[in-house]
Amino acid sequence: MRLRSSFLFLLVLAACSYRTEHRLEDLGDIFVSQELLTKISYGEVRDVVFKPSCIACHGDSGNVNLETFESTRPHLEEIRATSLNSRTMPKAPFANLNKTQLQYLAAWYQAGTPEFAKDPNPPRPPEVLKPTFASIKANIFVPKCIKCHNPDGNADRVPLETIEDLVKSPLEVVIPQNADESGLILVLLEGARGKMPPENSGISPVSASEIEIIKTWINNGAKD
C-alpha cells in the first residue's frame, strides 16, 4: 500500500515536471533563470518589452492597451500567442523581440504574469516623463518616432536622435524658447497638417500632457 502511494506520488511529480518541460518546448529556445523568475513583474516587462517594442501601437489609442497592468490583463492570452508562440508580433516596421525581451516575457508567463515581483524589494516605480531631452527621447521618440526618424529610416530627412538634429534642422523642428512655432509641436497637435505619428501607422498619438512636457522643454531652451 505504502509502495503504491509512493509510486503514485512519483507519477504526479513526473507529470508536473513533464508539464514544465513542455511549456519550455512551446517557447522554443528560451531559457529563463530562477533569478529572473523571482524578480519579474509587470513593471519589468513594461519597461523591457512593451515600452520599446509594443506601446507605440498598443497605447491608449483604443484597442489593446499595454500601458498598465489592468489594461494588459484582458489580453494575456493574445500576447502570449502572438509574441511568444507564433512570434507574429511586433509587426513591421518594428523589429522582432530580441532574446532578452523574449526571456522577460517568458519568465513573466512562467511566474503567472504577476503585477509585482516575488522578490521582497519594492517594484520599480514607472518612470515619469520629464522636460529633458533624455526623458522625452526615451518615453516618446524611441517608442513612437525613431523607428522612421533615424538616418536609415523612411523619414531620414528629419532625424530625431540628438538635440542637434532637432535644434539645427533647417526645418526648424525645435526653435529653443519658442514651442508654439516649433515644427515638432505643430505636427503633434490635433488636426495638424502632416500629423505625426501618421494616423494610418497604428502608432498611438502623443498625448496632450506629453505635448505639454515637450513644450516646457523647448520653452526652457531645449538644452539637455
Binding site: 526648424e172 505643430l186 497638417r193
Partner: protein, 192 residues
C-alpha cells in the same frame, strides 16, 4: 611669407566650400516646407498653399555668411499675362529662411488635386531629384543647377497624375517627374 599665403588661400577656399552647404534642389524643397509652416502659423494666407503652382530659385552672391544665399520665388496659379501673387523667400547657405516678402498679383484657383496640397506634391517631386541626383549624372544638373519647377496636371492616361516640370541653369534640358495623386513617384523623363 609663402606659408602665410598658403594659409590665407586655404582659408578662402574653405570659406567658399562651406558657403554652399546645401544644393539648389534642397533649398527649393526647404522653401516649400517654409511656405507650409507660414500657412500653419497663419502668417500668410492659405492661397499660398492651395493655389501654389510655380517656383523659381536663384543663387545669390553672399556679402557675408549671414546674408541670403538663395532667393526662392513661389508663385500662385495664374493663367493671365499679369504677374502672379507670389512669395519671395531668402534662405541662408544652410537652408534656413531669413525672411519673406509677399507680392500681390493675379491668383486663380488652380487644378484640383487630391488629399495632398500642391506644395507637398512639389516637395515630393524634389525628393526624387535630391535622392537620385548624386548617383544619376543627368539628374545631377537639376540637383545642383535647378532654376524652376512648375506643377502641372497630366490626364493623358485617363488617370489624374502630377507632372513636375523642372529646368536648370546648366543646359536647356527639362526634367519631367510624374507622381501619383498621393505624391508617390511613378517615372521621370529628361527632354531637350
Amino acid at each position: 611669407m609663402k606659408k602665410t599665403f598658403l594659409i590665407t588661400l586655404m582659408t578662402l577656399f574653405l570659406n567658399v566650400a562651406m558657403a554652399e552647404d546645401i544644393n539648389m534642389a534642397r533649398a527649393a524643397e526647404l522653401a516649400c516646407h517654409r511656405i507650409e509652416r507660414l500657412v500653419t502659423l497663419r502668417k500668410i494666407d492659405e492661397s499660398y498653399l492651395n493655389n501654389f503652382s510655380h517656383l523659381k530659385i536663384e543663387l545669390l552672391t553672399q556679402e557675408n555668411p549671414e546674408s541670403p544665399r538663395f532667393k526662392v520665388t513661389g508663385e500662385q496659379y495664374n493663367s493671365t499675362a499679369e504677374s502672379a501673387k507670389s512669395i519671395i523667400l531668402n534662405l541662408n547657405n544652410e537652408g534656413k529662411t531669413l525672411g519673406h516678402i509677399l507680392s500681390d498679383g493675379a491668383s486663380e484657383v488652380g487644378p484640383v488635386w487630391g488629399t495632398k496640397d500642391p506644395v507637398t506634391l512639389m516637395e515630393n517631386s524634389l525628393h526624387f531629384v535630391i535622392e537620385n541626383g548624386p548617383s544619376n549624372n543627368e539628374v545631377s544638373h537639376f540637383l545642383v543647377d535647378l532654376s524652376s519647377v512648375s506643377l502641372l496636371q497630366d490626364q493623358t492616361t485617363g488617370q489624374k497624375l502630377v507632372k513636375a516640370k523642372m529646368t536648370n541653369s546648366f543646359d536647356n534640358k527639362i526634367l519631367l517627374v510624374w507622381l501619383n495623386i498621393e505624391g508617390e513617384f511613378i517615372r521621370y523623363e529628361i527632354t531637350q
